[in-house]
């Protein structure tokens, strides 16, 4: 090989990785059992042994610039088989958690999301904003909120217009911030993982997206087969829920404002296909999230989940749960509880969306980008099977 790496250990980085869930990383004695069992490993890419050595030596830039980190779906085959209990799966998870912080713009957001003590403050921000929406829209007449029976008028409490403003505005800002981080990430990939000339960006993009949508990598996991089902349900449930929200906005607000005859009156109800999609998606999220949480909690779980994992998993599961509950309470006609749950639902939705680049939710962006990069420069780890 022509390339040569100068080893410059970064002790600070090692400590940060340990804090982010990789506290076992020094135990590795580089035997390559992990590489033998890993389906992502190949002769030229002894994954994740090389990444374990880099973690041990605190080679921050090389590690963060290695797309392989994001190829790993934390199936825990390596952790289960590691003879030294070095838990490579957790270490890689810690590297990814560190990446969310490292590439975060503004940087303090990364730190805040990684720190469990900041959680109340982080929750308080969407909570206050949504309280403002509630207060601003109701012009003093709050009696309807506190009824025990009657119609639950969600759009009256939280007008769709205001929510769309927050959603679109917030997302634009967040995507801009995320883009800064992702640009840094891309630069690191190019600098530290030079590849061959690959198929070009567009084919790589299509291949990456196809791979992500089909979840076929999850199927390679030996130790954690359940995650294929859990993650697929959660993934498609979330996309379905987002689509439901999008369709709802389109049909109830945009078409109304355009005076279109296809305009639908809010709230949309069954058996409208949009509502069917919403209900199915909600069930999928709850079911998928339940599988993931239960398996992570079970005694024979092959790995240990970090704060970053739990934070994201519970948030997204509660989003699904509160969404579905809101619908049920609306049908049941219990306004006081219905509004409260909807409020919580919205707080969590905005928590997820606004903090996406800094939380584990960011894996959506980083993994996609890493996969595109890997495919575009033809260093995608070939699967063994």
């Amino acid at each position: 090989m022509s390339t040569t790496t100068v080893m410059k250990p970064d002790l600070e980085f090692i400590r940060d990785l340990k804090k982010a869930g990789g506290d076992t990383l020094k135990k590795c004695y580089q035997c390559a059992t992990c590489s033998v069992v890993c389906n992502l490993s190949s002769k030229d890419h002894p994954f994740p042994r090389k990444q374990m050595v880099m973690s041990q030596w605190g080679m921050k830039d090389q590690l963060l610039g290695d797309p392989s980190i994001w190829m790993c779906h934390q199936c825990m085959d390596c952790t289960k088989n590691c003879p030294r209990d070095a838990k490579p799966g957790e270490v890689l998870g810690a590297v990814r958690a560190y990446a969310f912080q490292h590439f975060a713009f503004p940087a303090f957001m990364g730190k805040a999301l990684a720190n469990r003590n900041s959680l109340p403050v982080l929750l308080l921000i969407p909570a206050m904003v949504l309280l403002g929406v509630l207060l601003g829209g109701s012009s003093g007449d709050w009696g309807y909120l506190f009824q025990f029976t009657g119609e639950v008028e969600l759009a009256r409490a939280f007008p769709h217009g205001a929510l769309e403003m927050l959603f679109i505005g917030g997302n634009l800002l967040i995507f801009a911030f995320a883009a800064v981080g992702l640009m840094r990430f891309w630069k690191g990939l190019k600098a530290f993982t030079p590849g061959k000339s690959g198929p070009g960006f567009i084919p790589a993009f299509i291949a990456a997206i196809t791979e992500l949508l089909t979840h076929k990598k999850f199927n390679d996991c030996e130790e954690t087969k359940h995650r294929y089902l859990g993650h697929t349900l959660m993934f498609w449930g979330f996309i379905g829920a987002m689509a439901t929200a999008g369709f709802a906005v389109f049909f109830t607000i945009i078409l109304e404002s355009m005076g279109s005859p296809f305009y639908l009156h809010s709230p949309i109800d069954l058996p409208n296909p949009i509502k069917i999609l919403g209900v199915v998606s909600g069930i999928a999220m709850i079911w998928g999230g339940w599988i993931l949480i239960q398996k992570r909690k079970s005694e024979d779980a092959p790995g240990v989940s970090s704060y970053s994992d739990w934070q994201f998993l519970y948030m997204i599961w509660f989003v699904g749960l509160t969404g579905m509950l809101t619908y049920i309470l609306r049908l049941a006609g219990i306004p006081i509880v219905g509004y409260a749950v909807y409020y919580v639902h919205l707080v969590l939705v905005f928590f997820l969306l606004w903090y996406a680049p800094y939380s584990k939710f960011g894996h959506m962006f980083y993994r996609t980008l890493a996969l595109i990069y890997a495919k575009s420069v033809a260093i995608d780890n070939p699967r063994k099977k």
Partner: protein, 748 residues
Amino acid sequence: MAVETKIGGYICSGCDIGSAVDVEALLKMAKSEGCAICKSHEALCSAEGVQMIKADIAAEELNRVVVAGCSRRIKMEEFSFGDKVITGRANIREHVAWVMEPNDEDTQMAAEDYVTMEIHRMKNTDYIEPLVQDIDKTVLVVGGGVSGLRSALAAAGAGNDAVLVEKENLLGGWATKWKKVFPKAAPYKDLADSNVGDLIKKVEANDKIKVYTGSTIKKIHGEPGKFDVTLKGSSTDTFKAGSVVLAAGWKPYDANKLDHLGYGKNNVLTNVQMEEMLNSGGLKRASDGAAPKSVAFIQCAGSRDQEHLPYCSAVCCRVSLKQAKFIRDAYPDTQVYILYKDLRSPGQYELFYKNVQEDEGVFLTKGEVIRVDQLDGDRVEIELEDTLFGENIIVQTDMLVLAAGMVPNTHVEGVAEIMGDEAETAEKPAEAADGEEEADTGASAELGAKILNLSYRKGTDLPTLKYGFPDSHYICFPYETQRTAIFAAGCVRAPMDLASAENDAYGAALKAVQATELIGAGKAVHPRAGDTSNPDFFLQRCTQCKRCTEECPFGTLDEDEKGTPETHPNRCRRCGICMGACPERIVSFKDYSVHIIGEMLKSLEIPEEEDEKPRVLAFMCENDALPSLDIAAAHRMKINPFVRIIPVRCLGSMNVVWIADALSNGYDGVILIGCKHGDDYQCHFIKGSELANTRMENVREKLKQLVLEEERVQIHELSLSEWAKIPQVLDDFIDDIDTVGPNPYKGF
């Protein structure tokens, strides 16, 4: 023989023997071969059977007993009948009943032949008078490091006097120079203090141990049990000693040869220099006197390298882990990099390795060093290939430590190399002009390390094997050297850590104590432990060819000015190599001689050519080949019934005249089965197997002269674990004999 031999013949019919052979016929045959009394019993080894023999001995005044039954390797107690009766064992169980077709004509013949041979052995075997001597049982311990200290204590603990000789002015050796040692007890996590101070105190307080410091050995004269030791240096005392423990220790590999790893560059030092630095002024760079921010260790610096030390020095990995731990504890700002081929931290030391590895400031990785360069004048840059990165890596450091290996103090620069050349270009000694070749008989000790200064004809120091270790390196006999009653302990024997050196010292010291006990009783030490026979030299017929003195692997024989051998029974292992070597056949044991074996093989009736029953002799080494056959027999493997087995003490004791006798008596072939020779020899007498191979050249010449086929005499090497191959080896040999046809001298 003073008294006429009177032989009692006893056939055991137990253990399936009775159902495989005709015992009555055997009894008749034994009678006709000259047994005064012949009886059978269904279990000769039972109290009743033994009593029967004892009663006959008393009543009939028997002085020889032939027991035909199981292998001579078992039931030895049962068939010992005191000083006045010599017992011979005809193995008709493992050699016949268990391995041949029951009640077959050939099986019966084999059984009769083994009984006949044993009767003839007994007719020609004489009493042995053990050389019981009043000897000095002092154990001389050479070297006052941990191995030597512990050896002296162990010998004294066993009740022997010990004399400890140390060349330095202080006891303790290398261990006194170590700042800390790696852990010696659970949980094997933290550094420990060496206990060398306590050991020294114990030795100095022990009134059975006499210590000489600042002294070396000027001369060791004589033989075990009667060594006259003369010192030089601080003391010039002389004293007697019975046996010796060589605990002369080790020296670091010469780092000047490691310039390819950066030795000679600024801030590059060896592990021993690092140890000395930590023990004196603390961690400092030579260039600026400041503590380095990083220290790299290159493991296997010289070790496991064909250009330097081909072996693993066993401790360097743990030493580097120890130094890393020490540095990290004392200098938390200093990072440590350990670059290894393989990190070897065996046994419980794995826990120590794990503990050091947990330190976030200790970095380990695998690779082969391809380049070490100076960086910025005082730093060092190391490039490694074959890394776990799939690419070369570079490590930059303020200081580089080379984990250099251990060399035994018996290693003398160039000796191993010279020995190699000698072996290849060895000229035949003038005396061996009749065609026998001289085998390489071990490192010439004239070139040795001058530690023991033995006044042996074969050289002043212990012969060493190719890396300079004096251990004779046979797996069954650790501590054994090629000089009887001189044992090696500690790092002079093999690279090892302090705890292992202490264990080694116990082993070697107790071997030394045991040697004095055996020698005092006139008995051989291992591998023929307890053997009281000694070679007799009929010197009137000696032609001073010096073959015996040259070929004895143990330096037993010295010579007078004319070249006549001078025997030293206490140096002897009773292997009989001198007997095999002597062209005049003047060397014999009372129970094992050219004559006895000759009579045995001549005693058998060889079937006529038209009987189509080939007959071959197998000389089998008692050490591995014979036990292998017993194992094969226990598995009831089939042995060719045309083979007759004669056990030999060592293939080296085989005198070629036996082969000539066998062929002229009509045997169709002779096969020799013994231990492996060569670098990884398994010969229990070091050189016996090799000598047998050398002598085979001579045998082949003789066969040519007699116009006999080369295939008729073969040599086969076998280790104990290859027991299952024995039947095939013998069958193949018989096939070869069938191919070349019957011996044309048959019937002459």
